[in-house]
Structure formats: structure tokens, C-alpha cells
Symmetry: D2
Subunit: 335 residues, 4 copies
């Protein structure tokens, strides 16, 4: 019998991607939870079948027997809904930033609002399987990582752990994202004519994803410079990461560090020196692709990390977490 998995926010880009991934999953039936006016987005095709829809209430979740609910909602909505669904017996995978930062103070600093669920915040497990795999299976509440931090942490942490980064010189992460990262709500900044043939930086040095990188990678704030930028395309994140390498003699040495750390990881792909990932390589996949370049003479190094912000950066990673929580193969519906 299929596991019933609810989706709140299924009309947004992450929510729609979740639905698409779950529809490919052999062990899961996705159920749409009708929150506000989500319903209007169903296309008017006569001979199509649609997933079931139920009200977005604890009663409905309990009565239907939903095992898990995915929240593809803003953080303030996620804070409001999570405890209701936990009380109704479902586990929760939240795709917002509500439960990622560990402490209410951290949340207040970066989200400019008081956290209303500090106990759940303390309980939440950060859902980056490559680093938190052992805690995810038993979690009631998983905080699905942010898109930018996923690409950054997977690239930076192995090098930092291996001591390959000169921390005194700092790490620069120049990040570029497709427009779907900003959500589906209409906004002048995301209007076609404003974005096409354009490229722009935003939240320079103070993006709210920064603390998530610091917390997971192990970098200090003064060591890390981050700029988010908007690409004129739908999906994809590419981060160009600069640092001075220490203790490595070649690009191959850097690849070897990743190779050792990520042996057996199904969703990390490494590029041979001389090659770099681009966004086409990861589009509509749950892969994080990593390539490196090193000027051995001076130690200047560049790492390129690429993901699909809607898959490994959101819906795909959420399903990866669900697979771990419910004992399915970790790659189910994702390869």
C-alpha cells in the first residue's frame, strides 16, 4: 500500500516539482493539501487524471492517514502549520528556512522576525543527507536545506575538513541562480522583461542563506564572502568558489579530496581536471556536480558547484530525505 504524502504549496515551483517527483515514486501517493487558493493552477485538460486534493487541516491529515507532509511554503506559514501536522501524526519535511538555523536568535538576526516555535526549531534535523544521514531516519521534522547552501556546503566542507583551504585569505562564493529560486508570486523583479537580457546582484554580503553555509561548512562569517545573483533562466544554481589552496599540489589532489569524502554518494558527481560542470549537466536531476581548477604555482583555486535549485536544491533533496525517513532506497524516484 502506498505511503500517503501531502504537499502544501503545490502551485509554487518547488511544490510543483515535488508533485512531479512523487508521481514517479513507486511507493508513494501524493495528496494535494488545499491551502488558500492553490487550486486554480490545475490545467484545463479534459482527459487528464489529477492527484487527490484534501483540505489543509490537521483533521484531514489525520483522517486520510498521511504519513508525511511536505511544506513548500514561506517560513511564517511553515512555523504555523508544522505543529498541527505533527500532532495529527504526520512527519514533516519543511522546504522553507523556518527550521534551518538552529536557534531563535539566529533566525531573528537573518529573517528579521521572532521564531514562534523554538522547541520545534531545536528538534528539527537538518536534511543534508551527505552530512546528516544518520539522524534523518528517526526525525519527525526535517529542515530541508536552502538551495544556495546545498551547493556551497557540498563544495566547501570537504576541503575545509581536509585542511586544503587557507582560511586567513577567506573564501569567496559567487552564486548565480535561475529565477524559479525566487518563487512563483508575481513581482516586478521577476517579470520577464526585467530579467531577460539582464543579470544582477542582490543581497550582496547579507543574504539569509549565509548563516546556513557557516553553520554547516564550518567557516566563520569573516572568512566568507557571498553574493547572490539572478540569471535569466528558469532553473539552476552555479556557484564559483575561490580560495587559496594549501597542502595540495595539483587539481587532481583537490578532486581526490572530494572523491574520498563522497565515495558511494549517489548524487555527487566529480569532474576531471580541465572540465567544469554547467547548468545543463544538472538540470532536472538531483546531482550536485563539482569541478576544480588550481594554479599550483600560486595556490589560487576555483571550485565550481552546480545543482538544479528545484531538485537537489529543494524538491529532490526533500524526497531524498523522505526516502531515508521511510526506509526506501535513497535514490528512489531520483535517478
Amino acid at each position: 500500500m502506498a505511503l500517503l504524502a501531502g504537499i502544501v504549496g503545490y502551485t509554487g515551483y518547488s511544490g510543483a516539482e515535488l508533485l512531479a517527483v512523487l508521481e514517479r515514486h513507486p511507493n508513494v501517493e501524493p495528496i494535494l493539501l488545499e491551502h488558500r487558493d492553490d487550486g486554480a493552477a490545475i490545467p484545463p485538460i479534459r482527459n487528464a487524471t489529477h492527484p487527490r486534493r484534501i483540505p489543509c487541516t490537521p483533521e484531514a491529515v489525520r483522517n486520510e492517514g498521511l504519513a508525511v507532509v511536505f511544506l513548500a511554503t514561506p517560513p511564517e506559514v511553515s512555523m504555523e502549520l508544522t505543529s498541527f501536522f505533527l500532532d495529527a501524526g504526520a512527519r514533516v519535511i519543511d522546504l522553507s528556512g523556518a527550521f534551518r538555523l538552529g536557534t531563535p536568535q539566529n533566525y531573528l538576526t537573518w529573517y528579521k522576525a521572532a521564531h514562534t516555535q523554538p522547541e520545534l526549531l531545536a528538534e528539527a534535523v537538518y536534511g543534508l543527507p551527505e552530512y546528516c544521514r544518520e539522524r534523518i531516519p528517526a526525525a519527525r521534522l526535517v529542515a530541508n536545506p536552502g538551495c544556495y547552501p546545498t551547493a556551497a556546503n557540498l563544495a566547501i566542507r570537504p576541503l575545509l575538513e581536509a585542511g586544503a583551504i587557507d582560511r586567513t585569505a577567506g573564501v569567496v562564493c559567487d552564486a548565480k541562480s535561475g529565477v524559479s529560486g525566487a518563487g512563483r508570486k508575481p513581482n516586478l523583479k521577476n517579470s520577464f522583461c526585467e530579467v531577460t537580457e539582464n543579470f544582477s546582484a542582490y543581497s550582496v554580503l547579507h543574504h539569509r542563506h549565509v548563516p546556513e553555509v557557516l553553520r554547516v561548512s564550518g567557516l566563520e562569517e569573516r572568512e566568507f564572502s557571498f553574493t547572490a545573483q539572478l540569471l535569466p533562466l528558469h532553473r539552476g544554481i552555479l556557484e564559483t568558489i575561490y580560495f587559496r589552496a594549501v597542502g595540495v599540489g595539483s587539481a587532481e589532489d583537490l578532486v581526490a579530496i572530494y572523491e574520498k569524502r563522497y565515495v558511494g554518494e549517489p548524487f555527487i558527481r566529480l569532474y576531471n581536471p580541465g572540465h567544469m560542470p554547467d547548468l545543463h549537466a544538472v538540470a532536472r536531476t538531483n546531482f550536485c556536480d563539482i569541478g576544480v581548477s588550481l594554479d599550483a604555482r600560486t595556490g589560487r583555486a576555483v571550485v565550481v558547484s552546480a545543482i538544479d535549485n528545484l531538485v537537489k536544491g529543494a524538491a529532490g533533496q526533500a524526497v531524498q530525505n523522505m526516502n531515508l525517513m521511510f526506509g526506501f532506497a535513497e535514490t528512489e524516484a531520483l535517478l
Copy 2:
């Protein structure tokens, strides 16, 4: 009587932009020099007027009395043609990299070919008016700057001169360019389906524009990390430049450094702290727009520099140089 200005390579993107700029110039008549099979690109409009075309030969240049010839050609073609046109009595503005790097050795290192005109290389004046304005009026041969170096040098050099950059930590320049920067010759990498919905890095750490930045900005190679990246759009370069600031207490201090250095410069625009340029701001203009951000507590600083690669990065700057060489108002046809 109008100054006659020849264009070689008028079917390329820079060449076509040159023609468009010169057609707006009240004191200049552009003349197309027919090199190879340029001619096919004239559109088949019945009631249109076209610029005059003459053969691409020294004789034609002399007979017509061309005062200046713009070379929008690959470096090896520019090396071949320049002396012919100089001998024919025309001054030359070369848009290629042939005459930018000062020494044959430098050229060999970065362009992987011997320089065939070392004397002209020595004579050539680098055409970045903001830094070389006094030498341009008398120049016979101007090496028009590269697109990436123009945006980088205009942003980096004032800060370096003012001692505002901690050179031990180095400077990172993450550069993004539209596809027209790669020229008009068909190529799989520039094909629509390969570029759209994609973003990719190339020439990581060893782009041939690097030495032009070092030479003009004053940075040492070990201090400078540069990555070029391809944006899915037609025109525009945006460079995100990272460094540790020293001796400045606020973003406003950084803007003040630029303001002092660029007082009276017609093509440099500065943004108030809190704002950053984007590519729409500079598209089809000869402006270089500069914005800054600073975390005063840690000294981490970001400068964004934006130009149109075909205008300030190529044809517009070339006409700016022509204006200086022939005593026209520097902004003629460019504002």
C-alpha cells in the same frame, strides 16, 4: 567635410556596432572595407541606403583618403593589416588583442603565437581613455582594450591607487559576459540550444584577458583570480569583484575614492551604497557603472562593475578613442 572612417570586419558583432555608432556621428562617414566574404550580411531591404563599400586594400584606403581604419578582426588579421593601412596614411584603431600586451613575450605567453609586428606593438597606445587620455590624441595606432579588462581595470585601479585593497588577501574577479563577446562565427558553444537555460565557466584562471588587467590595474598575477563565464544573453558584462578593504570605514568611503578619481569622466557612473548596477542599466551605452558594498566590521568588500561588451567594451570605446585622436568632443555619437 566628413572624416572617412573604414571598418574591417563589419559583419561581426563589434563591427556592426561600430557601423551603428559611426552612422550617428555628425563628423564621420563610415566606409566598409570588404575583407573576405563580409558582403553577404547586408539585409535585402529594397528602399534602404547602405554605407559605401571599397576593397580592403592599402590602395583603396589611400585613394579614398581614409583618415582612420577600425579593425574588428582576429589578432592575426590585425597584425597583418595594420602596417598596410598605416603606410597608406590612415591611423588604425585595432579592436583585437594584437597590440594590447606591450611585449612580444607577453603576447606569445597568452596568445600562443609569435607576434609578427613587434615594432608596432611597441608603438601602440592602449586606448583606455580614463587612464591614457593624454597619449591617445597623437597615436597612430591605438590598441582598443578588451571587454573584460575594461570593466575590471576601471573598478580595481582607483582602489589600488588609493591603497584601499588588502593585497595580501588578493582580488577575485568573477566575470560574466553575454554571448556576443565570443564573436559571430558559428560554433557549437555559442549555439542557441547550448546556451539557453545554461551558464558555464570557461578559461578558468587562465583567460587571455588576465595580463591586460595586471598590466593596467597594477595587480600581480598571484594577487588576482579571474573566471570568465557565459551568460545566456546577447550583450553585457558584469564583474563581481571581491577583496578585503583597508583604511575605509564605509561603503560611502569606497564610492568617494571613485568619485575623486573619476570627477569629470563622462562615461563612469557611480551608484549610491545600497544599489548595484545591472546589465539593463548599461545596455547600448558607453557607460561603465560601478556599485559597492562593504561589511565594515570585517572589511569584506564587493564591487560590481558593468558595461556593454560591444560598446564600452569594444565599438563605443573605439569611437571614444577616435574622437580623442581627431579632436572631436569625446562623447560625440556616444551619449
Copy 3:
């Protein structure tokens, strides 16, 4: 002394284009009329000059001595503002559909609202210079044509007048427009992620521009099928027009009909048979480019008509009308 020309709606795409065109006009000073919260869009560049701004009131218009006001506003706002500005002594060029359809009944049918200014509607002169040039100079109020009808009427009317169209078989106009035609107000349909890599039809067979084509071209409603479609690009309209030709033996005969009708017209360009205009040919110009194809054996004919929707389809044509109204050269600021 410069003519003072006010712009209401200068933050919209048509309004911004108007400002750009007027800033190139040697005889005109553009003045921004502050209507609602237009002001926020001025970019934050320190060393830039901006046009003057005054309140959007009859008093301000009278006190400043504005000679003309351009309304780049929705039709209901245009209806409200026009009489105020006329009373204040300014002439008005309205870019909305408020005054194009001749009768209140026609307006009610297609705009689903009562016309509140029937006397002005009766007085308004339709501003398609190629067909109404003699009435424009004396007009107090010009109704600037719609973008789709401009491209359609310039292509269809000469053939209809020449009897070259088999009216029993009807005329099909398959129209495609860039996104700027839908205005700058944020809207899910115009969001980047909805538009990129997409193409869609809208207002099939009942677009509100249809009556403007019928009124000007001379076609009957039953003879004309029109579909509007959204292209994933910023600016440009291309219309592919199908009909059965009568009395013509070759594509050249069709071009000759246009050539005769449009002799001396500065903004109509005709293509030789075998060639068709595309959107790049007309982008940022006030041209309407026309190409034809004919299968002489069966009479099946295709005409392609292309304009820039923001220029010949809006701001450029509005300035063309202003030039006629105030005795400037018709092409001033437009070539």
C-alpha cells in the same frame, strides 16, 4: 526654446521608451508628470541628470506651459485625464485604446465598459500617419494606434485597396508579440518562469485590437481571423498574414503594390521577394518592415509585417504624431 512635452506613465515600458525618444529630440524637453507612485523607478546613480518632474495636475501643466502631454496609461485613466489637460491648454497624444474606436458603442463592445468622454472620442484623430497624415497637424487629441493594428493595417490596407485580396476566402492574421506589449505591471502570465521556453495564444478570435484593424483596413469582421500570441522576448511584433491573391502574377507584383502606395514613406521598408523581415531588423526602430511570398499557381499568399511594439507600435509613432502636430520634421528623433 524647447517645446515642453509631458509624459504620464513614464515608468511603464511605453512611457520609458517615450522618454528615451524625446531625450534624443533636439526641439523638445520631456517633463515627467508624477501620477501615483511612478517615482520609485529612477535608478540610483549618483552622477546622472534626470528630467524634471512635476505633479500630474492641470495647474502644473498650465503653469509650466506644457504644449503636449503623452498619456501612457490604461484607457480608464486616459479618459479621466485627457479633458483636464486639454482644458489646461495642452494637446494630448493618448497611447491607450480609449479614443481609437470611433463610437462609444464600439468601445463598450470591446472594452466592456462605458466610454465616459464621448465628445472627445468623436473629436480624436487616429494617429496612423501613413493613412491620416492630413488630419494630424491640427488635432488637439490624437489616438495613437494599437501595436497589433499598426502592423496589420500597414500590411493589409494597400492590398485591399488594390483589389489583390480574395475577400471571400478571408484574411488570417497570426500575430506574435514580445512581453513588453502586456505592460510592466507584475502578473503571473508575464513572470519570467512562465514565459521563458514557452509560447502561447491568448484572446483567440476576440482580441480588443480586432475592431481597430477592421476600422482602418476596411475588412469586415467575418473576413478576418486574428490570434495574438506571446513570444518569449522583450520587444517586437511579427504578424504572418495569409490570403488568396487575385489579379497578381508574382510576389514582385505584391511588392509593387506596396511600393506604389508607400512611395516617400520614411518608415515603411519593403523586402525583395525571397526575403522576409524578422524582429532583429526592426528592434529599436520606428520602421514597419514588410515581406511577401506568393505561390503563383494557386494564389496562396503570405505577408510578413514586423514592427517594434514599443516604437512604431507605441512611443515612436506617438513622437511621429507629435512631429506632425508641431511642424517638426516627421522623422526627427526617429531615424
Copy 4:
């Protein structure tokens, strides 16, 4: 044991799509046939698995025991290779135009070259399952339909069979395709800078896909006007089809004709009146989506037909044919 399916031309867009579809097929193992220098395109990922590659020779095909070979090659290559593979015991599904037009004369007229395999041309079965399903299972050689004809025939033929089209007025098909339809070979017309922000018509009235529409739909040449146009996007075809309806009183009547004809068809989706398909609806699917609009008063009708040119217009339909040929479920790997 898996069916072995060879792909020639796997680096092209259709070939790469074929590989992606076949990798999802539970009963098939795709094998790459190395023709010319296909191999360079394999991405340089260290820890990735790749399909097997063998030489593109009859011997290799026979030795490996390939059951079927897909040819994603130009027609002249397909003509050359087909008999070799048939002789080697494999069945062939050809994605080119080589075997679609029935007679050598037809081929000569539209492809401007002599057909070198007239017997195979006579034997080939046209692979549009909705109309040729009964002949496909036994076919040795299937001519996979063209992309434009697939969308056109699926929309036009039911209406023509039902007598709902006034043939005296003719049918207009205004077709728009993404750039992948032109193949992966670099070409100025397909270069990013030429395509972005552009839209253009080509092969007006004489596209080589016209005879395929005539042959399958039942229209006469004089009744059918077709224009192909290039959209600035990667994948998707949308055709806007105009005609005068006879014997139908409402849009619903038109939908009912399709519904009756396509009952049980897994890949045809019908839209309720008032809605039209767009390219996002069909991207990366094997669906053909059809929507209709009718002005009942005048009989003017519009049908919009949308497919993904690389899926239902190429690779997906090819696998649909393979499924029929080898007794798999028709929708395997395609839903």
C-alpha cells in the same frame, strides 16, 4: 533479457533525447553506434556510467544481436545505412525524412535529390501510431514522422474526416518551432545572438514537411498554406490552424469530434473550450495537446496543436513505434 537498441547520431538533439528515453525503458538496453566523430560529446564526469558503444557497422550490429536501430541522421545517411542494418537482421526506425514521402518522385521534388533506395521507400511504414497502428507491429522499417506534420496531422485529419472544414476556403497552418528542430550542427542561423530576442519565418509556403501533411491529412496542396517560424527557445512546436468550420455549432462540437476519434489514445490530450495548450504543457512529454476556438456566428475557427518536437515530434514517437513493433506496452518509458 533486455532488447538491444542501437542509436546512430546520438550526439544530435533527437539522438540524445532517444538515449534519455531508452534509459528509462525497463525492457531495453541502448547501445551507441559510433558514426563519424560522435564520441566527443560524452561529458567528463568521473563517477558516471555510460551506455555501451560499438562501431556503426553491419558486422557489429549482427554480432551484438541488435534487434532494432534508430537512425537520428540526415536523410542521405539514413538511405545509406538502412539496408545494411536490415541485412544484418535489425529492424530500423528512421527519424529522417528519407522514407516518409511514399514515392521517389515526391522525394525528388521536396528534397531536391534522387532517392537511392526506392524499394525500401515502398516498404517503409509511416509511424504515426494514431493513424497507422495496425501496420507498425510487423514493419521492418518505420519512417518516423516529421515534427511539424505530427502536430498538423493529428489536429487536421479528424476534422477533415468529419467534414467539419470548409475546404474551399482552405486551411492555414502557422507553425512555430524551437531551435532544436534545426539540429545540433553549428550554423549562423542557430547561433544564440541571432536567435535570442528574435522571431523569423523560413521556408514560407514551401517547407519540405508540407507533402507529409498533405499525404496524411488528406488535404490538397492548393488547400493548405504553411509557414514555419523559429521561436527563441529550445524545444516545442505550436501550430495555430485556421479554417472555416461547417456543420458545427460550437467549440464543444469540435472538441467532440476529436474526442470521438481519439478515444483511448494515450498521447492525445484535449482542452475544454476557452483554454489553449502552450509549450510548457507538452515540454518533455509525448503528448499532443489540442485546443479549439470557434466564432459560431461566422464559422471562423482556430485549432492550436502543441507537441515537444524532440519527443512526440521525434524520439518519443520513435520509442512509441518501437513499443508497438516489439510488443511492449505502447506507453512504456513515455508516461
